[in-house]
Structures are given as C-alpha cells and as structure tokens.
Symmetry: C2
Subunit: 383 residues, 2 copies
Amino acid sequence: MHSFTRRSFLAQASTLPLLFQIRAGAQDPAVFPGLITRMAEPENLEFPFSSLSTAITPNEQFFVRSHFAVPKIDNEKWTLSVEGTVKKPLTLTLENLKKLPKRSMKATIECAGNDRVFLTPTVAGLQWGHGAVSNAEWTGVSLSSVLEAAGLNDTAVEVILEGADKGQVNSDPKSPGPISFARSIPIAKAKSDDVILAYQMNGVDLSASHGAPLRAVVGGWYGMASVKWLTRLNVVSKPFGGFWQTLEYSYWEQLGDVPTLAPLTQMQVKSAIARPGRGEVIPAGKSFRIFGAAWAGESAVAKVEVSTDGGKTWSVAKLLDKPERLTWSLWEFTWNVPRQAGPAQLFVRATDSSGHTQPTTRDPNRRSYMINHLVPTDVVIRS
Amino acid sequence: MHSFTRRSFLAQASTLPLLFQIRAGAQDPAVFPGLITRMAEPENLEFPFSSLSTAITPNEQFFVRSHFAVPKIDNEKWTLSVEGTVKKPLTLTLENLKKLPKRSMKATIECAGNDRVFLTPTVAGLQWGHGAVSNAEWTGVSLSSVLEAAGLNDTAVEVILEGADKGQVNSDPKSPGPISFARSIPIAKAKSDDVILAYQMNGVDLSASHGAPLRAVVGGWYGMASVKWLTRLNVVSKPFGGFWQTLEYSYWEQLGDVPTLAPLTQMQVKSAIARPGRGEVIPAGKSFRIFGAAWAGESAVAKVEVSTDGGKTWSVAKLLDKPERLTWSLWEFTWNVPRQAGPAQLFVRATDSSGHTQPTTRDPNRRSYMINHLVPTDVVIRS
C-alpha cells in the first residue's frame, strides 16, 4: 500500500511548519503526526485521532495495544492448534489456513479503555485519549470454517482464543502465575460471520505489532477479544473465567440490586470529534467543518448529532459513509462559527439502529471500560 | 448454656497465674484466654485454637468473620424474601420459619483465609492463625424446605444468599458501589441436606455477631457461603458473579495450562495442632499429649498422622470422635518426648475418605485462600 512512500514523504513533511503538517495530515493519510506513546514497553501506541481522514486507518496509524512484549514467532514453525471439545483436533500451518476460503471484512477495533484519560477521578490503566480505536479491512479465514473443519461437540459453549504473548501480570496482586493472553467468545458469536482469523490488514501481511502471522478479529466487540499472535483455539464446555475477562476487561452488571461480574463484549455506540482538536483555535464568523467518526459495535450507526453550545441544542451531522455493522462511519457538520470571540464547547453523540444513544453521564459499574458517555471538546473562537 | 457462669468464672480466673489459665482453658471450655482480635471494626475475631477442648466450640469462643458493621435488625420487622425464578415468591417472618420442620446439624465453619498468617511472603487480607475455624450444632430449617415452599422453576441454576450487611469495599479499587454481602450456591447443593437456615447455635438464639436472627450454614463449604443476617434468597437462572465469588473468595483453577477463575466452594481436608502451641516448652523424657482437630468439608476424615521429627516419619493419631461429613473430629497422639533438650518440629496431616491428603507445599493459584498445606509447630524440649 502507501507504506512504500511513507519515509520519503515524512522526510519532506518534517521540514514544513508544524501547523501545516497537522492540517495536511487531516487531508492526506500519508502525513500524520506519529503515534502517541501511552506505554513504551510493552508497546501501547495511540492513533492520533485528530489526523483521522479516511474510513480505513492506514496500517502505520492503527493503534497498538499489547499486554506483553511482542512474541518471537518463526512463521515457518508457527501452527494454530484447534483442540478441546472437538471431534477432530487440528494443527494448522499458515499454508493450511491460506488454503481455506479467503474472506475480507471491514471492522473497527476499539480498546475497551479508549477515552480513559477523560475519567475523573483518574483510574488505573493506560490513559488513552480518543485514539485507541482504528478501522481496517481484514483478510483471512472465517473462524467458523476452522471450527467446522474440527467439528464441534454438542457440549461446546465457548472458544478460547489464545495468543503466543505470555507473562506475569504484576499490576494486580490477584493475578495468577505467568499466563498467555487469552479470551473466550460464545459459540454463537464464533460461528457467526463476524469473526475472522486474519493474516492480512489493509491488503498487506500483518506486522509483528499487529499480531503476525495470525490474529482474531471479533467484529463488533471491544479489542481485547481480537487476540493477536493466535496459537490456539480451545473449545470448552463451560464458560471460561480467564484473567482478562474477570479481573480485567469485565464490568459490574446489575442483577436486581446485586452487581454481578460480566465479561466485556460488544462495543457501545460511540462517536468522537477528530477536528477541531481540544484547544484548537477557530476563526470567528466563518464556517468550520467539524469532522469525526461514529461506530456502534454489532449495530449500525443510525444518527450522529453535534452540539456547538455545550449540549444545549443539537443538530444532525451528515454521514459520509453508508452506515454498516462492525465498521465506523465518518461524519461531518458545517459549523457557522459565531462572530463573538471566546470559548466554545462542542459535543457529538451517536444513536445506533436499535435506538441506543450515548449516555450523558458515566456509570461507575463499568469500572474503567466502555467509556462512551459524552466528552466535551473545548475550543477557542478568535476574531 | 454455660454463658450464665462465664462472667463469674472469668473474674476468678483472671486472678490465677497466666500459664494456669491457659492450661485450664485447654481442659475446660468455661475458661479461655479470650478471642484474638484480627480486626477491631468490623469485628474479626479468632478462636484461640490452643484452647480447643471439646468438639463443639462454645458460642463465646466461636470465631467471628464480618465484612461490614453488624447490621441493626429489628426481629419483629425482619423478613426473609424468597424471589427470582420461583413459582411463588415468599416473604417469611421468623415466626413463619419457625413453623417449618426444625432440624439440627453439626457443622464446622472454616474461613477460607484460615492460617493466612503462615503464608510467606505475606499476602493481603486478615492475618488469621489456626483459629478462623470453629464447630457448632446449628438449629433451624432446611434451605430445601424453604425452596420447596416457593417452588423452583426449571431454569433455576443457583440461589443467591443475601445478607443485611452492606457497605463499600474500599480495599479493592475494582469493587462495585455499595453492596450487600451475597454469595450463591448451586441448586444441587441448595436442595441437599447440607444447608440449613439457622436461628440457633448450640441451643441458643444466634447472637448479633453470628448473624441474628437467621444465617445460612452451608455445611462442608468455606465460611463465606454461610451468609449471616440473611434477608433474601434470590433464585437465578444464570451463574452469579458477585464480588465475593469473583474478585474475592475465588481461586485460579487450571484449564489445561490456562487458569480460569472459580469461586471457592468446599473446605479442603485439613488438620491443626491445638497443643502444644507454637514455642511451647515440653518437658524432656516424658510423654506429652499432642492434640488437635481434623476436618474434610463434604468428606469425612479417614486418617490423621503426626510427625514429631519435622516430617521425616509419621505415626497414626487416635481419632476421638467418629469421623462424620461436615463436622470436625478431635484427635490425639501420645508423644514420647526425647530426653535430649533442643528444638523440635511437629506436623499433623489428615487424609479424607476419598484419599486426598493435605499437600506439603502451597499452590499459589489458590491466591490467599484454601490454605491446607502442612504448617510446622515449632516447640522447645527442655530437661
């Protein structure tokens, strides 16, 4: 793709004035202000959301979420084992997988902690801004076709997706000993068309940071389910209670008035403003293109609304892409900026096809995840 | 019972030399060296295990485990509600419950963190010694008869036992908002004879500290299941994931090589030495009665063995009570103390009727619970 031209283009771009680079970045995906480092080791890198310009996020801009160091994998020796409560356990090479029917699927992946930096008081975890979310076209094989080849037993209830990344979780004294990153999905989701085992991302082979040689993409679900560096599919006959779906990546669901721990699953309906960015200076008395993305997990976006007066009044934004399940839609709204200089507060809110609108306040039982309440973008109007 | 004579006896006893009081305490349950405070507020008090003398623990010596302050309950206004997936929801007064068939059951209750003080390195949680365990005869009604009166729907899988004690768990940032203490048990256990809703303990009405007016006693399970100040039975159609069976009172069970979080259930086979106590001075060249208790949850104790040489050799101890499920057995072993002065290390280990013996080493995946590995009692032989 465009990765070939990247270096020379960036070399040129770096000699241009900074403001121009950012503005250019918003127009041209080949120029962007780099990834935001939220943690250096292991790699946790954020898409600089203000550089959003196309529905497909270029691979170099796609956010990176890692729980452990990138595992060293020799593609020639790598295999995917399919085991557990199956009729015929399998050990598949990359070559074997590539012989299965090839499929592509556009899917937005959002980290469950995206926008955590906006929570007050501060909570533990990576302090992501708007950009722990990106959108790509994934190519690989349907999980369902691999499961079909192995043959599920009737007792199967979930598939555990296990990665090659492994370590000891030191941030939580309740964690078990060294463990591989693993996450389960129910059989119904596993058999649906929403889940693919991808070896390509936007038409090129996966990079190491993105899970080479094979990763899961669980469309519509928060990113923790899209296990990278996939090495094992373990079909189980009772619900899995792994670390990353109990102590981490879970929330308190109300059962009457008693909270019960539930694993995170679907992305909640959400939208975010890419431009203007926080603190951006807007010329008074002119029109300004407010621009961003909206997504709704397993649903499609039905409506995006913008407020330029701190949430008092709302106007419908224009959707630039036909809303689809699993993948985000870009939207824009032309703001007739007042002549009066001073601060302004912008909001965006999305509604999905089932009628769910983003909440205005934060539910603390979501712990530090599923952050889709309205977050203001404060800007400055200058004449 | 003996509570009437307690005060006057203790008044006398307190004028006796300390050593005599402790020795007398081991013979006579009316004299004992007080409960050990592990936390003042809420009340967490330990049975001083070296004062063990009878299979039934006197009420005043029974250990107390509280998660929140003792709730203020007016027995006249108190009710037990039976709800959820039942044919006929019920609201029962104490009077209603006392009209149901009355039953008594001897049961040992052990806190899941009993002996935590012996873990190295130190782990978070109350630092219990041997005495977060006691044994009583409980009187009340079978949980099964209450459930039968309400009529379970076919979809019922668990019963959540909910207490009147409520608060915010500040020790864990992952805890939900203010919650009532609650724990679930599967329907099969709930329908068994092992579970009673008790209003009496050793023949007298429950005290406030022990859960008045009504508590659950889930025979064979760790104490967290025996919910005190019971106010609600909530029959549910999917497994409950409450705080005290996920973030607390759970362990990592191995699913192949992937740990999965599981709620604590049955007490593991275990034994403890009451006398001699740690550091006790033993006369050389005489015989000494090593004495203690052994229990095995839903199983019965089959064998108790003692080592007086640091675990090199083992001898079978004598069981003083006929082993039964749910309730502990006292045991003794006559030690022919060597003439040689010096340190000695004693061990006891029990085996249950299914052949499980206490492990010699600690499994870290049990987190800070289910502590039944062998723990030495170091004593001093003096000539």
